[in-house]
Amino acid sequence: MSQLRVFLVDDHAMIRSGVRAELGSDPQAGLAVVGEAGTVEDAVRGILETMPDVVLLDVHMPSGGGRAVLDQVRGQAPGVRFLALSVSDAAEDVIGVIRGGARGYVTKTISGADLCDAVSRVAAGDAIFSPRLAGFVLDAFAAGPVAVPEDVAEKALDVLSAREREVMRLLARGYTYREIGQQLFISIKTVETHASNVLRKLQVSNRNELTRWAVDRRIV
């Protein structure tokens, strides 16, 4: 299996070196850090030069933060996937990065093994929800119109289907995708599909509650 190429963006050098050490600590994971940047401009240049598989993106940075990097890079490098990594930011920033195209969100207190796992899953196209982000989704998409039939709810952007809600609840309770599959008697693949659908809704829904909730709440 070829190595996954990872790019780190964080304005704190200490965090970068810590993450770099954690990603490299497990040779089994097959992760290689191909570059890092501490500012938005350096990040844009570096990402376009190295074309990594996954960018670990700090949410809050001077001059625009992770959202600015996403906005400048997404159009030119559609194959690069982004995972937001944040220590403790206002929910509006996190939601901004997710809606800017990041495939997921993890906190900096995540363990090294979990981080490696999350990077690999993002590279494979999965969506990553931290428990708090899942809780936020449940909060923001709080029991909408109940009468929406399941097959409509799957496609509708502004409501979660019952299954998606169930998956988000288990994620918020700290379950892994595997455990969720066991709990709901569905395959991991199906869990991943549900999670990706929810991520898409979070990204494109124009539910105005999203912004309001994001302003009112913090996630981390």
């Binding site: 403790s88 428990p131 809780g135 449940l138 909060d139 700290g174």
Partner: protein, 434 residues
């Protein structure tokens, strides 16, 4: 110290001569004395006793008379001409109670009188201050028709209207938060409108409207010209004021941040250095500080213990401070804490404590969801786990604090665990039961 001739000797034998006045007041059994320590209540106006500006009420309290008497006197004096002037002067010079630290023992100053009927009508007036103002306006206008230059009767009513409007406006001046309350703003606007209508009517009655309009327009033109000529200075003045204000706010904010950082973060960093050889303690300090700083930076508006979510966060902080664990808490929705919810809170606290003490891992997940139809809480760890069927009878924590407490409040608790797989406690309380 000479003896007071009329005093009973035991009172005058009081060792401190300073209390003589108070002792005298007590001994002479004056029905108007409210507080023995305070000989006369201070001469201040209060908003809750006033009919117009509280002048009569203040004077009455100070003289320990019934306000009705004082008000009557003022009205009577008004017809001689002195009353209105005296009232106005007192209004200007008497401080308002809001701006004076008032002695709480003063009381309301109204003695027991037999004037029950007038008291009744006064109560009615107090509820309708505008009516009182109108009456005073009529009185004032009646006075003006006698002594003022406007002898014609037609001017009387417009003047009353003007007085009414002015009184409406002036009456608001004593209220502290002048423009912040909607009702006050409406009252001010109404007062201004009434005043303008009254003035226009006065001018129209005196056939001065045309002249006034012309001079008004001329004045407006001159003022406009002067305003235009000096506009750059005004603009700069306003800009300077705004930037000064901004700078001051920045300095204040900076001072507040510095104070907070000093009180919390620097102290914690110092503590961490002192405990550098104890990873456990360093962990605990860092976690506690992180939590505090985060809630300071991103504090939710409702983060207090009066709501379920706030109380849960507090419980989590307590667990993290007492044990070497990190609780990942996710709380969806919120509700005020009631009986049933506080039982859920206590059971949750106990479940987290069990996980922290027995699971043998550093991470505990808490998920709480408040919905319209009930509350669900999950506390989960990936620790050693246990066989729920083999809970010893002496393990009161689980049996009494969690299972039976939830059952007592009409809820349920389910504990899923097996050796080696961790433990999950599920607490459920439907809204109908709470």
């Amino acid at each position: 110290m000479g003896k007071h001739p009329e005093c009973p000797p035991n009172l005058c034998a009081s060792p401190s001569g300073g209390h003589l006045m108070a002792a005298w007041a007590r001994a002479c059994d004056d029905p108007w004395v409210i507080s023995p320590a305070q000989v006369r209540p201070p001469l201040v106006r209060t908003s809750d006793e006033r009919l117009v500006a509280g002048v009569c009420a203040a004077v009455a309290r100070h003289l320990r008379l019934d306000p009705v008497i004082v008000r009557g006197a003022f009205v009577a004096l008004a017809f001689v001409g002195v009353g209105v002037l005296a009232y106005a002067l007192l209004w200007v010079f008497l401080p308002h109670a809001d701006s004076v630290p008032i002695d709480s023992t003063v009381g309301d100053g109204r003695g027991p009188t037999a004037m029950a009927t007038s008291r009744l009508s006064l109560e009615a007036l107090r509820d309708k201050p505008s009516l009182a103002i109108l009456l005073i306006g009529v009185g004032g206008a009646a006075l003006l028709t006698q002594v003022g230059p406007f002898g014609e009767i037609q001017v009387l009513w417009p003047l009353i209207i003007v007085g009414f409007g002015l009184a409406l406006i002036w009456r608001q001046v004593d209220d502290r938060d002048l423009l912040s309350r909607r009702s006050l703003r409406w009252r001010l606007a109404a007062g201004a409108a009434v005043t303008v209508v009254g003035l226009v009517t006065v001018l129209a009655t005196l056939n001065l409207l045309e002249v006034t309009w012309q001079s008004f327009a001329a004045t407006l033109l001159i003022l406009g010209g002067v305003g235009l000529a000096t506009a750059p200075w005004w603009r700069r003045l306003v800009a300077e004021r705004a930037s000064e204000r901004r700078a001051r706010i920045r300095v204040e904010e900076r001072a507040e941040v510095a104070a907070h950082l000093h009180d919390s973060v620097l102290q914690t960093l110092a503590l961490i250095q002192r405990h550098a050889d104890s990873p456990r303690e360093v962990n605990r300090l860092a976690r506690g500080q992180e939590r505090e700083l985060r809630s300071w930076l991103y504090g939710r508006p409702g983060e207090d213990t009066a709501t379920f979510g706030g109380a849960l966060e507090r419980a989590v902080a307590d667990i993290e401070a007492s044990y070497d664990v990190r609780v990942q808490s996710v709380i969806v929705g919120d509700a005020p804490v009631e009986d049933g919810l506080s039982a859920v809170l206590q059971a949750t606290h106990e479940a987290m404590r069990n996980a922290a003490r027995h699971a043998g891992v550093q991470d505990v997940s808490l998920y709480a969801e408040v919905e319209d139809d009930g509350v669900t809480v999950f506390v989960r760890d990936r620790g050693v786990g246990f066989d729920p069927d083999s809970i010893a009878d002496d393990r009161r924590g689980v049996r009494y604090s969690i299972v039976q407490r939830m059952a007592r409040h009409g809820g349920s608790a389910r504990i899923t665990s097996a050796p080696g797989t961790g433990t999950e406690v599920e607490l459920r309380l439907s809204q109908a039961a709470s």
